[in-house]
């Protein structure tokens, strides 16, 4: 029995080593698959940055204390990127499309506020983009409210009593960065494992494996281990970028390590399964990309999916990506994004891994060479 076990372990290691050696010879593909996830991280960060605060020119025709206080209220609205300019310069900026809005604080602002008379703050909007336009439309009234709450606290009787669930706020990029880590694991795993498996069929080298006395289980595990080792490379790169450059430091390093490895197992199994069933590399690559992006958006990449509609939540929960984002957000930020608890989510992911491994072995078991 030990001889048999030793032989099957030798097969596992031989398959893994062979796939790793083969990946090293295909340098261009390996480098590309290592950097595709990093590229995605940069792309999504740019996407987030592009959609952040609206550039807004402020014309201060009044320099009085109330006008200054109003400007402060605007600057704290989390919606504007303010720039104080002259009227002429502001006009130039909005005409040139370099600013979304021009807010003009009139010369009699302080005087009218003091006398409790109506005062009109001029707002000129470049409304070619609804997203930015609505940001401005929401943020100006918010600034007015904030201004009054601070300048005349006795006039505003309603105030906010905020209780935060977490000790600190989490910015958009740190949240998104963790989701991107999941998508990086997915792309890396699917691409590496999928192409490594499909290549065996394309080049007919699968015959060498299937004609050997080795068990299909050992071959399956060996192939998964090979692509697992290669996709670890892209995972380490994304983790380094995330931690060192984006500054997202995990709250629990052990969880990061454990859930990252578990995710890699799942995605490498899916990749191996795809490669075994489809048998050609090009559709596997297309499908890997095609699956990854929609699942990324569906599974709560930009914010908890529990904030979304019930239908979307139900669909998201079919796929392991949702649970991977949940556990990794917990590992990095300490969030509990659903009510299943850390162990519940972990068990679900382990279940996915086991079912996929069984499916993978069954696919290889049932596979016969054509003719």
């Amino acid at each position: 029995m030990f001889n048999e076990l030793g032989y099957q372990l030798r097969v596992v290691w031989a398959c893994a080593k062979k796939d790793f050696q083969a990946a090293l010879t295909d340098r261009l593909f390996t480098v590309l698959s290592l950097f595709v996830p990093v590229n995605l991280l940069i792309l999504m960060s740019l996407f987030v940055l592009a959609g952040s605060n609206a550039p807004t020119a402020v014309v201060m025709e009044d320099q009085g204390p109330y006008a200054q206080a109003f400007y402060q209220a605007m600057s704290q609205a989390h919606s504007f990127r303010l720039q104080i300019t002259s009227a002429a310069e502001a006009e130039h900026l909005i005409t040139a499309g370099q600013t979304v809005a021009v807010v003009t604080i009139p010369a009699d602002f302080d005087a009218k506020v003091q006398r409790n008379q109506p005062v009109q703050v001029g707002v000129k909007i470049n409304n070619l983009n609804t997203d930015f336009t609505n940001d401005i439309r929401r943020a100006i009234p918010l600034s007015i409210t904030s201004f009054y709450a601070k300048a005349f606290p006795n006039l505003v009787s309603v105030s906010v009593q905020e209780h935060d669930l977490y000790v600190h706020d989490t910015d958009y990029v740190p949240y998104l960065g963790v989701s991107i880590l999941v998508i990086a694991l997915m792309m890396g795993g699917l691409l590496q494992a999928g192409t490594a498996s499909a290549k065996e069929w394309e080049n007919q080298t699968i015959k060498e494996l299937l004609l050997s006395p080795a068990s299909r289980w050992a071959i399956t595990v060996g192939k998964m281990l090979g692509s697992f080792i290669v996709s670890l490379g892209s995972t380490i790169i994304v983790l380094l970028v995330l931690i060192v450059f984006v500054g997202v430091v995990p709250e629990n390093w052990g969880e990061v390590l454990g859930f990252t490895l578990l995710s890699l197992v799942i995605f490498n199994t899916v990749g191996t399964l795809l490669g075994t069933v489809i048998k050609t590399r090009q559709p596997v690559i297309a499908l890997s990309m095609g699956i990854s992006l929609p699942l990324f958006f569906l599974s709560g990449a930009f914010g908890p999916i529990s904030f979304s509609t019930p239908v979307l939540q139900t669909i998201a929960k079919i796929f392991p990506v949702y649970y991977q984002i949940v556990v990794l957000q917990h590992a990095f930020h300490g969030f509990a994004l659903n009510t299943y608890g850390l162990w519940g989510n972990t068990l679900i992911l382990v279940g996915y891994a086991l079912v996929l491994i069984v499916l993978m072995a069954a696919a290889l078991q049932r596979t016969t060479v054509s003719h």
């Binding site: 097969v11 080049n203 015959k207």
Partner: protein, 313 residues
């Protein structure tokens, strides 16, 4: 456990269907230990499907296959341990070196680690690739890849070696070398199963040949017997003017087949007859003879006769 009295391969009423298409149709034949057995047939005749069933890559729809006494349905693993295979496409990892390919094969076939290095060296030496052992296989010629695939198939010392089109696309020199390796296998007591489209190859190597067409066995015998079954002699005559005594020629006893194309006459005689001199006399009476050739029938003619098609159609 195997013994020399047990057939190397035994196929009994073997059938393989893909949907409505029957690729192998009630095929029964036996390959004896120590023989080089040729499986011939046109493309799509069912050769590869048959071999896939022998190696356990494909399950028969019905019928039985036994390899060295092992039932493939229940003892696939034992069969794989005694089978060495050289697929048509060689199935080598082209990005890896010759040594790494053999090393991988040794691992998945469970060759003891202490023997591995020596066996790989022996095999590379046997096929003359020792000096290229560290080169990626992708840089090898077709003949070198075939030789390496053969070395790989023999590495675990199989009792039955299967070669699918062993010299397809290789140069004449490599073909001769591969033939020599195959003939040496018989001397070592191994059974060799070959599928080939080259009748010359089958004639050179095989002790027996099975011809299959549309998945059915149409002939099974030694190359010599097959040729004898086809006819005694073939007389090819080129005349200066067109041959005009066809009726007289047909009337001669012992004539099996006549083909006349302008000034080229080809006559096949029945075996056991001695009608060749009469054929030549008749041609000489009719016309001036420019060229004459008397020979045995070849396997191409046997094949054409049996299947109605040339082998590589």
């Amino acid at each position: 456990m195997t013994n020399s009295n047990v057939a190397s391969i035994e196929m009994v009423h073997l059938v393989k269907r893909f949907g409505n298409f029957t690729a192998v149709d009630d095929l029964s034949l036996t390959v004896e230990p120590g023989e080089i057995f040729g499986l011939l047939g046109p493309n799509g005749s069912g050769k590869t499907t048959t071999v896939n069933m022998i190696s356990g890559l494909s399950a028969p729809t019905s019928g039985q296959v036994r390899v060295m006494g092992h039932d493939l349905r229940t003892q696939t693993r034992q069969v794989r341990q005694i089978l060495g295979s050289v697929p048509q496409e060689t199935a080598l990892y082209e990005e890896l070196s010759a040594w790494t390919n053999l090393d991988f094969h040794a691992d998945i076939f469970g060759i003891p680690s202490r023997e591995k290095k020596a066996r790989i060296e022996n095999m590379l030496n046997l096929v003359g690739l020792t000096d290229r052992k560290d080169s990626p296989v992708g840089t090898f010629s077709g003949g070198m890849k075939r030789r390496l695939a053969l070395a790989r198939a023999l590495l675990h010392d199989p009792q039955l070696v299967y070669l699918d089109e062993p010299t397809l696309g290789v140069d004449v020199q490599s073909r001769r070398a591969i033939w020599d390796y195959i003939l040496a296998l018989r001397q070592q007591g191994k059974t060799v199963l070959i599928t080939t489209n080259y009748l010359e190859e089958a004639q050179e190597l095989c002790s027996r040949i099975a011809i299959i067409d549309h998945g059915r066995l149409v002939a099974l015998d030694t190359p010599e017997e097959l040729k004898q079954q086809f006819g005694g002699s073939v007389v090819e005559i080129e005349t200066v003017e067109p041959f005009g005594m066809l009726a007289e020629l047909r009337a001669l006893p012992g004539i099996k087949d006549i083909q006349l194309e302008n000034r080229f006459l080809k006559v096949t005689t029945e075996s056991g007859t001695n009608v060749v001199p009469q054929v030549i006399n008749l041609a000489a009476q009719c016309c001036e003879i420019r060229d004459i050739n008397i020979r045995e029938p070849n396997l191409d003619e046997v094949f054409l006769h049996l299947t109605g098609t040339a082998l590589r159609d």
